[in-house]
């Protein structure tokens, strides 16, 4: 591993000043479960690390009000056990506890989890494989390579790496907002605007500048979260990344769908909201037939690669099942 220098600022202001002063080759570290892993692989080679675990103001968790607020340094395991999340937003709790292992969830921060980097094997395992995300301009070995786990939504000629996280899939379904703070002050952005599709610049995962820190995640209180699920299909029953996952939430009024949210994981370069599938359900009864139709619509427009076309049928079934599970919790 490349040698690096280490700083541990005591508060948010100092952390931003540290980042702004440090310049290129500096990375934030919280739980370290992604960054330290990639540093051991020499995929991440920062010269300086800024450890933000001392920032007590990022550790708050307030789920009692009209807006749920989760500090960026709250650990995944702690958020997963929050009673309000479990009762009123089961998709959020499930997305957390169905990710990683309890050891890693005890370590990993929510902010860091949102920024988890792709599991694309060509990205992780380095030379001799080309990877525009790891080494801009080198090409993409996945497009014609082993691409079973890659994205068929949101890719480009330069990159088809799938976004690997679960929590962001549930958050995008709930229209969550991310507060970030940097040298130019604080701003808020929709979770849908946090992650970047690769386009011609796959190396830039997120719409954040180098001096910005995710401060908190805000989830608007709503009544659609209660009948919800995060349905995650994996190659083994636990402790694996999604082959396909669906965050689904539904509110039924007078026997028909009044509000519905569908988001997909494992198949896109960014957290993917299936809005046309949602639209197809509004005002209709939710049953096996309409849920299956929504599942088919959710995967229209997919551009499958050599090894992942099976996920179109699988994914449609996962969406259907997620909707039925969610509706069963109403």
């Amino acid at each position: 591993m490349k040698r690096f220098d280490y700083a541990r600022p005591a508060d948010l202001g100092s952390a931003i000043a540290t980042l702004a002063a440090a310049g290129d080759g500096t990375r934030l570290v919280a739980g370290g479960t992604t960054l330290f892993d990639l540093m051991k692989l020499d995929v991440e080679t920062p010269g300086r690390l800024v450890d933000i675990n001392g920032l007590a103001e990022l550790r708050g968790i307030d789920t009692g009000g009209d807006e749920l607020r989760l500090g960026a340094l709250v650990r995944m395991a702690d958020a997963a056990e929050d009673t309000r999340l479990k009762a009123d937003f089961p998709l959020l709790s499930e997305a957390l506890w169905k990710a990683a292992s309890q050891q890693l969830r005890n370590m990993a921060s929510l902010g860091g989890n949102l920024l988890q980097r792709t599991r694309c094997a060509y990205f992780r395992h380095g030379e001799p494989f080309a990877c525009n995300k790891r080494n801009p301009g080198s090409g993409c070995a996945a497009i014609d390579g082993a691409n079973r786990s890659h994205a068929f939504f949101g890719g480009s000629d330069a990159c088809v790496a799938a976004y690997p996280g679960d929590f962001a899939i549930a958050l995008i379904a709930m229209d969550a907002v991310i507060d970030v703070e940097g040298a130019k002050g604080r701003r808020s952005l929709a979770i849908a605007d946090l992650h970047r599709q690769p386009g011609a610049r796959p190396h830039q995962d997120a719409n954040l500048s180098p001096d910005e820190i995710i401060v908190q995640i805000r989830i608007p209180a709503n009544s659609v979260g209660r009948a919800s699920t995060y349905h995650k299909v994996r190659d083994r029953e636990s402790y694996a990344f999604a082959v396909v996952s669906t965050a689904a939430a539904v509110r039924i009024e007078d026997g028909v769908v009044a509000d519905v949210r569908i988001a997909l994981g494992g198949v896109a370069t960014v957290p993917w909201r299936a809005r046309s599938a949602e639209q197809a359900l509004i005002g209709r009864r939710l049953d096996a037939e309409t849920a299956a139709e929504a599942g088919r619509i959710a995967f229209e427009g997919a551009a499958p690669l050599n090894h992942n076309s099976f996920k179109i049928e699988l994914g449609a079934n996962v969406v259907r099942d997620a909707l039925i599970i969610a509706a069963g919790r109403a």
Binding site: M1, R3, F4, D5, Y6, A7, R8, P9, L12, G13, S14, I16, A17, T18, L19, A20, A21, A22, G23, D24, V29, G32, T33, F36, D37, M39, K40, R48, L49, V50, D51, N53, A100, S101, Q102, Q103, L104, N106, M107, F153, G154, A183, K184, R187, D193, R196, Q197, G199, N207, S209, D211, S238, Y239, V270, W272, R273, A274, S276, A277, E300
Partner: protein
């Protein structure tokens, strides 16, 4: 429409160019070095001073109740410090990437993958390893249960399994065999001793709670 994401996620962030960021960074760096007063920094919008970067970090912590103070290269993992500097070889290095659970220890009572823990992050914290689990010759109920249920074959994953199992019970995630399997899924056993491991944890849970 079938592409469900028409918003332009590739737009540049908040009008802030890389050049602006670099210029801002340089300015702050110069201010910090020359010690210009806090008004100048406040005008940039941030009254706080940067923290110092170091190549060697003094860390003080307790392992199984014994205090240790070490000057660490920040690249050190907690696992390597335990095994190579403190001689505690109970926690095992399986994958060294947080995927197998063989390195599981407790930090302030919570189970973590010690291979993925930067050792500089355990300053002032309490570490418990498999060596600290028994009370002298009296085995912890989880250790005894692993023996009773023959919950191992080669034994390489066992220290991690036991430390994870103890935490699993304390977290109240050992309520059923199904829940034990879910919350122990981060500990792999290449020998396939899983039925014994699940039975041992269920048994130990009764002993620990009783």
């Amino acid at each position: 429409m079938t592409t469900d994401r028409q918003d332009d996620v590739n737009s540049d962030i908040s009008g802030l160019s890389r050049r602006d960021v670099l210029k801002g960074g340089t300015a702050l760096g110069v201010l910090a070095v020359t010690g210009i007063d806090s008004h100048a920094l406040a005008q940039i919008g941030n009254p706080s001073l940067p923290a110092a970067f170091r190549t060697e970090i003094e860390v003080s912590f307790r392992v199984n109740g014994d205090r240790s103070s070490l000057a660490l290269d920040p690249r050190s993992s907690l696992l390597d410090v335990l095994r190579d500097q403190l001689g505690l070889t109970g926690a095992k290095k399986g994958c060294d990437h947080g995927q197998c659970g063989a390195c599981t220890v407790h930090v302030d009572g919570r189970r973590v993958a010690s291979c993925m823990t930067l050792a500089v992050q355990i300053d002032d914290l309490d570490i418990t390893t498999i060596e600290g689990l028994s009370e002298g010759d009296d085995l912890h109920p989880m250790q005894q249960a692993f023996i009773d249920h023959d919950a191992l074959q080669c034994g390489y994953c066992t220290p991690g399994q036991i430390m994870a199992g103890v935490a699993c019970v304390r977290e109240e995630h050992a309520g059923s065999p199904q829940q034990i399997r879910e919350y122990m899924s981060g500990n792999l056993c290449r020998c396939g001793a899983y039925p014994g491991i699940v039975a041992a944890i269920a048994d130990a849970a009764r002993a620990m709670e009783g």
